[in-house]
Each structure stands twice: as structure tokens, then as C-alpha cells.
């Protein structure tokens, strides 16, 4: 009896051995781990300056920048605030702000 893989961003519930496969085989996705709470600073794209080169999308290590309607959109659920996008943007279209308390 195979335990199905849970594809969403919800935690996997394991109450004990009966909910576990015989070996450490994964049962769910790390999407449940919203790494956005790692941030101290939040990058923000100024779409007036953005030339849609997608360099920010290209170099994000997570990736936490999605392409939505042909625009780069930062996914703040996962953005860790490394600021690589800000550093690499050729038009200085990204600035950062401190995360609120």
C-alpha cells in the first residue's frame, strides 16, 4: 500500500509509524515551507523602470520570481531577501525596504 505524494503547499500529517513508508521516502512538498519569513529586507520592482529583460527572474536562486502576464513578479511567500535581483537589474528598477515589524 503506497502512501500518495501530496503535491500542494500543506504540511504532511504523520501521527506515527503507520503513516510512514518503510524507508524515508518523501510524502509532500517543501512548498509548505514559506521561506518569505527569512527576510529582513524586501525587494520591490518599479514597473515604470522595468524593461522586461527578465534578468531578475533568470538569476533568482529560489526561484521566487514568477512570470505573470509577461512581467516579473516577486513571490513574497518565498523571497528570502538576498537582493541578487536588485544587484543585477540593469535599470536599477529594484530597490529594497526593511521588513515591517
Amino acid at each position: 500500500m503506497v502512501i500518495k505524494f501530496q503535491k500542494n503547499d500543506k504540511p504532511v500529517i504523520i501521527t506515527g509509524a503507520k503513516d510512514m513508508p518503510p524507508m524515508a521516502a518523501s510524502l509532500g512538498s517543501m512548498l509548505q515551507n514559506k521561506t518569505g519569513d527569512w527576510r529582513n529586507v524586501r525587494p520591490i520592482i518599479d514597473y515604470e523602470k522595468c524593461i522586461k529583460c527578465f534578468i531578475c527572474w533568470k538569476i533568482c536562486p529560489e526561484p521566487a520570481i514568477d512570470i505573470v502576464d509577461e512581467l516579473p513578479v516577486i513571490n513574497y511567500d518565498y523571497c528570502k531577501g538576498c537582493l541578487m535581483c536588485m544587484e543585477e537589474c540593469p535599470k536599477d528598477a529594484i530597490h529594497y525596504e526593511k521588513e515591517g515589524k
Binding site: 518523501s26 509532500g28 509548505q32 533568470k58 536562486p61 538576498c82 541578487m84 543585477e88
Partner: protein
């Protein structure tokens, strides 16, 4: 909208890589090119943790965690198992750090290369045992601070030239790459994907945590390593034909590269000059091999 690398994402966020992790970016590129029909063999290294703890994963392809020194042979075993079941198309990729490749994993990778096992071996090189807390490896460059080469005894001796070692096995495809040049890296991944036999790619993956650099400079550092000629980007076909992929018109001085990294800041001018001379000599020898 013109994208210069494949659009599809295989890996999802939520994983445990540090902010600005070069190794994470390297995996993202590799999975984009290899696609879903891929299996990963990952030994002890940062990626053994980055993917996430049981019961979770983030790469969305089958991943077999394996013992430190066995990345290459585990991949060979996986490939053999698939082939005997008629599943010939799957890309089997050994994905390891520099420790598990240059040091403890050297026997297994040499064995797999000599047998020309049909796998791709990618070493994401952050130049030390980063997962266990920044201890030196034989990939640590001369001059670097690590926890086992503290400032008073900084690492002396050149970085092992793993690409040359692999090429000496006369494997079909050897390449160096850098996350600062994603289009070049993706081209090389595509070549590896379409070549039969043992393929080896050495990708430089800056580590802000271990290099003591600001996470935002990961791409800048990955570019500077190439622009200073200390990490030239090239391919070796069949172990003997050398081709350089990115020619630097006027190389930048190594102190430009060191400027952004805390792990080199203890070096005095004469020590930096020693390193600069070594880089220039080594690069001159390298140029002689180009066709």
C-alpha cells in the same frame, strides 16, 4: 518577451538554501535543461539538506540521497537498473559538492569515468565543506580562510584541477561553468544531456556564508572568477580537444575578485601578488591547450 534560458521550472521554492546560494541557482538551471525525465544521486553536501527534510522534497524529480563518497557509483547503479528495465531515456545525474567530488568521492568518480558509465556528473563547487561549517577541501583556493585553515594558517597550495583529472580519463565531455554565465551553463547542460557516456561539468557556485560575501554579490562573484582568468570557461571533448567558451579581452586583477570576499581579506599585498602571478602562469599554460 525573450528568455535566454528555458522557461519551465522544475524545482520549487521553499527549500533550505542560504540567501544568495550559488548551488541552489546551479540546480535550478540543471533541472530546467534536463527536465522531468531525470534522476538525481546526491551525496552528503549542502544539497543533502537544501532539498528539505523527510517527509518533504523540492526538486520534483526522483532523488536518491547517498553516502558521501558514492555520488558517481550510485548514479551508475541507478542507470544500470533503468537500462536493464528498458528505460533508456532518463537523465541520470550525480549532483555533488566539491568535498564529495575532489576528495572523498574521487575514487568513485574515477571508476565511473574510466568505465564511461552513461551518467552526467555535476560538481557545484563552493570551494570548501560548506554543509559541515566551512572546512577546507582540495577545491579551496590558495589564500582562503576556512575553519580548518584559519587566518594564521590559511590554505596554501593550488586548487585541484578536477577538470583536467576527469579529462585524463578521455571521457566524451568535460566542461567548466559558472552560475554567473547561465546561458553558457545551460548550453553545456544541453550538450551533456545529448551525449552518451560519462559527462562531467564543474560549475562554480559562490557561497555567501563560506566566502563571507554579501548574498547580493553571488552573480558578480561568479562573473569575476571568470573575468580574472582564475576560473576559465571551457570544454574538453574526448579528453583532448580544448575549446574556450568565454574569452576575456582584458582580464581583471584578482584583488577585484577578493574585494567582495571576507575569506581573502587577511592577505597582504605580496601574497595577493603571488596569487596573481600563479593565475597568470596557469592561464598561459591553459591557453596553449586551446585549438
Amino acid at each position: 518577451m525573450r528568455l535566454t534560458i528555458p522557461e519551465r521550472e522544475i524545482m520549487t521554492p521553499g527549500h533550505l538554501a542560504c540567501q544568495g546560494c550559488g548551488g541552489s541557482l546551479a540546480m535550478r538551471y540543471a533541472l530546467k535543461v534536463f527536465g522531468k525525465d531525470t534522476m538525481l544521486s546526491i551525496p552528503a553536501c549542502c544539497w543533502a539538506v537544501i532539498d528539505g527534510p523527510f517527509p518533504y522534497t523540492s526538486v520534483n524529480v526522483p532523488l536518491f540521497h547517498t553516502a558521501f563518497e558514492t555520488a558517481a557509483i550510485m548514479a551508475s547503479g541507478i542507470k544500470a537498473g533503468l537500462m536493464v528495465q528498458g528505460k533508456d531515456t532518463t537523465n541520470v545525474v550525480a549532483w555533488a559538492g566539491d568535498g564529495g567530488t575532489f576528495d572523498i568521492g574521487l575514487q568513485a568518480i574515477s571508476g565511473a569515468a574510466e568505465r564511461n558509465d552513461d551518467i552526467t556528473y555535476i560538481v557545484y563547487d563552493n570551494e570548501a565543506y560548506m554543509n559541515t561549517g566551512i572546512q577546507r577541501s582540495s577545491a579551496t583556493p590558495h589564500g582562503a580562510w576556512t575553519t580548518t585553515t584559519p587566518v594564521k594558517h590559511y590554505k596554501k597550495g593550488p586548487k585541484k584541477n578536477i577538470a583536467e583529472i576527469m579529462a585524463a580519463h578521455r571521457i566524451p565531455y568535460t566542461a567548466t561553468a559558472s552560475v554567473g554565465y547561465p546561458e553558457d551553463f545551460c548550453k553545456k547542460l544541453e550538450k551533456a544531456k545529448n551525449t552518451k557516456g560519462f559527462k562531467f561539468i564543474h560549475v562554480l557556485a559562490p557561497c555567501p556564508t563560506g566566502w563571507k560575501s554579501d548574498p547580493r554579490y553571488t552573480i558578480k562573484l561568479a562573473k569575476l572568477a571568470v573575468q580574472t582568468n582564475s576560473f576559465p570557461l571551457y570544454e574538453i571533448i574526448d579528453g583532448i580537444h580544448y575549446k574556450q567558451n568565454v574569452k576575456i579581452k582584458e582580464r581583471k586583477p584578482i584583488k577585484e575578485y577578493f574585494k567582495y570576499q571576507g575569506r581573502f581579506k587577511h592577505l597582504h599585498e605580496d601574497e595577493v601578488q603571488y596569487i596573481q602571478n600563479f593565475i597568470d602562469e596557469t592561464y598561459a599554460l591553459f591557453e596553449m591547450k586551446l585549438e
